[in-house]
């Protein structure tokens, strides 16, 4: 039986990817941010999973306005890093896990979550920047990755509660997979940021840190926060944070199991236009 060994949460700012790719991580602007992930890279080596289920959003890369799936699961054998207009990032291709991905799709759809199944798609910085932050610059990513894209580009994104409940369904699906895989689930995006209009540049440290507190201790309550609160308090793009609730909903304690162990917590402002938050929660049996 497969099991979820940990959940990881991180922002996925494109400029972070550029800083890694251009060798700028020790520059004064970037050094404090990357220092916050030193623990995480070591932790990743010490706690290597068999598969990462990676919740992220596409940024008008694989999905234009032709099709806008609310939840899309990547079931392909591999995914290429996308050219987002600046050229593709020089990172390894992403190897998928078609067997587990298809199993999760079938289970979760039968559990009333109508996923879109995607057998061909490129993956953008939303997926590759978290991998770079957690794994550094390897020749190949350390394990297969199942991309799970959530629409947060065209309003409305799915509600926090919908995401949280989907996380529970994903956990049930993983628990019923008949191979002893250690699976990590990652929730990415956020934290507070706004990229448009005269209010561009909004950052709300108080909101962000309260979000981190509640994600750890009161995720069910946090899942009830309405969209408008994210928009008003964390900026129009801060709504990406609902994706963290998918990963949190997959942890055992939300359905009566053991509380997870907080292995790491980090917060930093700014990375380009954005506040960066990061958590690692380990499952306990």
């Amino acid at each position: 039986m497969a099991s979820i060994t940990a959940s990881v949460y991180t922002s996925h700012v494109p400029a972070i990817g550029a800083a890694i790719d251009l060798g700028k991580t020790t520059e004064p602007y970037w050094q404090p941010l990357f220092k916050g992930y030193e623990f995480s890279r070591q932790w990743m080596q010490d706690n290597q999973p068999d598969v990462v289920f990676l919740v992220y959003n596409d940024h008008a890369t694989a999905f234009s306005l032709e099709m806008i799936p609310t939840f899309a699961i990547g079931t392909a054998a591999e995914f290429q890093p996308a050219d987002e207009g600046w050229g593709p990032r020089p990172v390894p291709r992403v190897i998928g896990h078609p067997e587990l991905a298809s199993h999760i799709a079938q289970s979760v759809i039968q559990d009333d979550f109508d996923l879109t199944i995607v057998n061909k798609m490129d993956v953008d910085h939303g997926l590759t920047v978290p991998l770079s932050l957690m794994c550094g610059q390897p020749e190949a990513w350390p394990c297969p990755v199942i991309p799970f894209a959530v629409n947060v580009v065209q309003y409305p994104a799915p509600s926090g509660k919908r995401c949280f409940d989907l996380g529970k369904a994903i956990a049930r699906a993983i628990a019923s997979f008949d191979a002893p895989l250690r699976v990590q689930i990652w929730g990415t995006g956020g934290m507070s940021h706004q990229l448009q209009g005269p209010r561009a540049g909004l950052i709300n440290k108080e909101f962000d840190n309260n979000f981190l507190d509640r994600l750890i201790a009161d995720p069910a309550g946090l899942a009830r926060v309405p969209h408008i609160d994210y928009v008003r308090e964390a900026g129009s793009e801060g709504i990406e944070l609902v994706m963290w609730l998918i990963a949190r909903g997959a942890m055992a304690d939300v359905t009566g199991g053991a509380k997870p162990h907080l292995a790491h917590r980090f917060y930093h402002v700014p990375a380009s236009n954005t506040a960066v938050g990061h958590l690692i929660l380990e499952s306990r049996s």
Binding site: Y29, G85, L195, P198, R199, I203, F207, E233, S236, S272
Partner: protein
């Protein structure tokens, strides 16, 4: 009965909802076409001619030609699509975001390094924060305008 859109009273902010997406469909799909290198070359060679290949409104075309991202957004553009224009021009996301505030690139960057824009006064239209309509443009441009 109309849909509830509580986000309409957030200052300096346009939420890209179904209504904006419908308005901006061709504008955003034009932006998407710039992900192909050959289209970037054609666009840069004759911007007006390239734009005329798309069933966009004149205001949308003028907003693109002027690189006025606030006008593009008012005409249905979405920042993740508009970013393709910025990439074609060699601009970073921070340069693009900053351009919508009236601040210079240095002013905007300094604001972010200092912790970003406060939500204080910028939650509801009618407050007195720096993102409110009566305080545009921001930065030195605004101060010069006031003299």
């Amino acid at each position: 009965m109309a849909l509830d859109k509580p986000y309409k009273d957030v200052p300096g902010t346009t939420i890209f909802d179904a209504e904006q997406s419908r308005l901006g469909y061709h504008l955003n799909q034009f932006c998407m076409s710039l992900m192909k290198a050959q289209n970037r070359i054609r666009f840069k060679a004759d911007e007006r001619a390239y734009l005329d290949e798309w069933p966009m409104g004149e205001e949308q075309k003028q907003a693109v030609l002027a690189r006025d991202l606030n006008r593009c957004i008012a005409a249905g553009g979405n920042i993740y699509f508009l970013a393709k224009i910025g990439a074609t021009d060699g601009k970073s996301f921070q340069q693009m975001a900053g351009s919508m505030t009236g601040m210079t690139e240095d002013e905007y960057r300094a604001m972010m390094v200092a912790g970003g824009r406060s939500a204080q006064g910028n939650r509801y239209v009618g407050e007195d924060g720096d993102a409110q309509a009566h305080r545009q443009p921001q930065g030195r441009a605004g101060q010069e305008g006031a003299v």
